[in-house]
């Protein structure tokens, strides 16, 4: 196929790149008198993290204008939730930022719990399990960020390492919740099932292996000359820029501000764990990489502490609120197919108590009512502040749920970090923002 040379007044000359001889294309472009070239990158491009579309105006190799087009993954999750019960909402929010599902669930459940006024009555064991699974997810999410980033720069080893290590976390999540991703594990009032037998040992093994693997990754990248030349002083965004654009998470901490909701506005008992908030003040891609690496190491510390509590003082405690009007009526156990079930409970409601059956039926099909009002609950997700604005009109369904997803907000930094730079650095810049389009578009 040859280049189409349609010249219109509005668009200028159009070069169609669809499997032709590249030499021919380069020749045609270089013969053209136009200095400005508009390149459409995405929405189906391996370096744009899913279906992000970038419209880049190039002057030679310099980007003069970078525009971001989103919406290709909009699935109407927020609208759909208005037609399901409060508990069913969890299965929807978990699909937003699909690399960090536990964070979506926790933010949403914290919002619902705040509306119900039961925040203080969530069992400690449930809170510790939430912290444990959140930190595991943070590691897996950061690993994907670093892995895909390596691949986009042309380094396949970090990609293989990153995904290999992430697989360990996903296996753990599958063992705990029954599913690798989109697990709908955190529920209003606690978590859906307790840790299965052997989970503590498995996580303990993971804690032994992981520090070495992080060191391996650091050895590969920290002082790698190719890597540092592609990342240092690239996509500079200082604290003022971050504040104005509402950027949170590793990008903000790489600009020198130790702002982490786990420390500044603790939730789920984070104030009782010992960990540091890593920062860098280089404001560049390399700084964000270092922050992410250090955060994984901190997460391991938190997991260790949570594990000690779960196998020590909190052993055998309840994982769901002791309120029969909210908590699921049975203690489920994971079956071989990943679905929870409880033979004792079934025997009880089917064999001995009509009232228990009615209660079960009412709670599961009708759901519980949430007093009218609105609230905002936020957690520190791997990408920044993940907030849930939850509104109730007093019914059994959410009146409105809005997610303030950090990917959505952070993606606004693309023009600020890319314009004036080289076209190749756009890849680093976008990758260092680490956007997840499921969260951006919802």
């Amino acid at each position: 196929m040859s280049t189409t040379e349609t010249a219109t007044e509005t668009q200028g000359r159009i070069y169609d790149v669809a499997g032709q001889d590249w030499d021919e294309l380069v020749k045609t472009v270089s013969e053209s008198a136009d200095e400005r070239l508009v390149v459409n990158m995405g929405p189906q491009h391996p370096s744009t993290h899913g279906v992000l579309r970038l419209v880049l105006t190039l002057d030679g190799e310099t980007v003069t204008e970078a525009r971001t087009v989103i919406g290709y993954l909009h699935t109407g999750i927020e609208k759909n939730m208005e037609f399901r019960t409060w508990t069913q909402g969890v299965t929807f929010v978990t699909r937003m930022d699909y690399l960090a599902p536990i964070f979506n669930e926790t933010a949403y459940c914290m919002g619902v719990e705040k509306l119900l006024g039961i925040t203080d009555r969530i069992p400690d064991r449930a809170q510790a399990i939430r912290v444990l699974t959140m930190e595991l997810t943070r590691i897996s999410s950061h690993l994907v960020a670093i892995a895909t980033f390596g691949m986009e720069l042309g380094a396949t080893t970090p990609m293989l390492f990153g995904f290999r290590e992430r697989e360990m976390v996903l296996d753990l999540m599958e063992y705990i919740t029954g599913l690798r991703m989109n697990m709908a594990y955190v529920r209003p009032g606690g978590v859906s099932v307790d840790l299965p037998a052997g989970a503590v040992d498995k996580i303990g093994e993971f804690l032994k292996i992981m520090p070495g693997r992080i060191k391996e990754m650091r050895k590969l990248l920290d002082a790698n000359p190719v890597y540092t030349r592609r990342t240092k002083d690239v996509a500079y965004l200082d604290l003022t820029g971050c504040m104005a654009l509402g950027i949170t998470g590793p990008m903000l901490r790489a600009a020198g501000l130790p702002w982490d909701l786990r420390k500044s506005q603790p939730y789920c008992g984070y104030e009782t764990y010992e960990f540091d908030v890593p920062t860098q003040n280089t404001c560049d891609v390399y700084g964000r990489y270092l922050v992410r690496m250090a955060e994984m190491e901190e997460s391991l510390k938190i997991i260790e502490q949570a594990l000690d509590r779960l196998s020590g003082p909190l052993k055998g405690g309840p994982v769901m609120i002791e309120d029969k009007k909210i908590g699921w009526p049975s203690q489920l156990a994971l079956g071989p197919d990943g679905l929870g079930n409880s033979p004792d409970h079934i025997a009880h409601i089917m064999g001995s108590s009509m009232e228990a059956l009615i209660h079960h039926f009412k709670l599961v099909t009708e759901g519980f009512r949430v007093p009218a009002g609105q609230t905002y609950a936020s957690v520190e997700s791997p990408r920044g502040e993940l907030g849930a604005h939850v509104v109730s009109d007093g019914g059994t369904r959410p009146y409105r749920v809005h997610f303030r997803d950090p990917s959505f907000t952070n993606l606004q930094a693309v023009p600020a970090t890319c314009e004036g730079g080289m076209v190749a650095d756009v890849i680093s810049a976008v990758a260092s923002i680490d956007p997840v389009m499921g969260g951006v578009d919802r």
């Binding site: 705040k114 006024g117 509402g246 950027i247 500044s264 604005h389 303030r404 907000t409 606004q412």
Partner: protein, 221 residues
């Protein structure tokens, strides 16, 4: 209807009658007395408690007429601001040394069709890193005149958030640099998050039975 046994019902308009989301006169109890009333419109008075009084003290002298009402609920404070004064209030919240809400967490819209004259709400969550505080600012506008001044000048992060709220609710943010749709296609008709916009969907067959679309199912709310 107040008797000795029944406490008096609050004088709020009726939200719905009956149960199970029946749309006609049907009341499954047979007595036609199942009445659910709308939640009352809250308004809090001083003292608000916590740091809320400090925030109100720093805000109110200059903007007493701009703040319609203040609601303290579930440990969060909400300032309902008149839309004409929104930009000034936001600028003051950001710049005043006693307030310093540097970080905005964006705009969220809510549609309350029954609130005549204030159907559409824009909700702003602000965070002060200096003082480690959070507040909420809420603005409303009538459906017939869905205009709210843009706050992109104060918080540049609102650029996409206002586009999103416009896209989903049809609130026009006057003064926004490029208010276009962001999630839905450019030629989309309607604003999907509004309550009068249907969810849509098709019935699905499951093991011989037909499961209706989510918005056609029996609702208990």
């Amino acid at each position: 209807m107040t008797t000795e046994n029944l406490p008096g019902l609050p004088e709020e308009p009726v939200a719905r009658k009956g149960m199970f989301g029946v749309k006609d006169s049907g009341d499954t109890s047979g007595y036609n007395r199942l009445v659910v009333r709308r939640p009352p419109k809250l308004s809090s008075s001083r003292p608000y408690g916590s740091y809320f009084d400090d925030v109100a003290d720093a805000l109110e002298p200059a903007f007493a007429d701009a703040v319609e009402r203040v609601v303290v609920d579930r440990g969060e404070i909400t300032f309902h601001v008149r839309r004409e004064r929104l930009t000034e209030v936001m600028r003051h919240l950001r710049d005043d040394a006693a307030l310093r809400f540097e970080l905005s967490l964006g705009v969220s819209g809510v549609h309350y069709p029954e609130e005549t004259g204030a159907e559409l709400h824009a909700v702003y969550h602000l965070c002060s890193i200096t003082h480690n505080r959070r507040i909420r600012v809420e603005v409303s506008c009538p459906d017939a005149d869905p205009h709210i001044p843009s706050t992109v000048q104060v918080y540049p992060t609102h650029d996409w958030h206002e586009r999103e709220t416009y896209d989903f609710f049809g609130i026009v943010f006057d003064g926004h640099p490029a208010l276009t749709r962001i999630e839905m296609p450019d030629d989309w008709e309607g604003h999907p998050q509004r309550k009068d916009y249907p969810l849509g969907g098709i019935p699905v067959e499951y093991r011989g039975a037909e499961v209706p679309a989510p918005d056609r199912r029996r609702s208990y709310s």
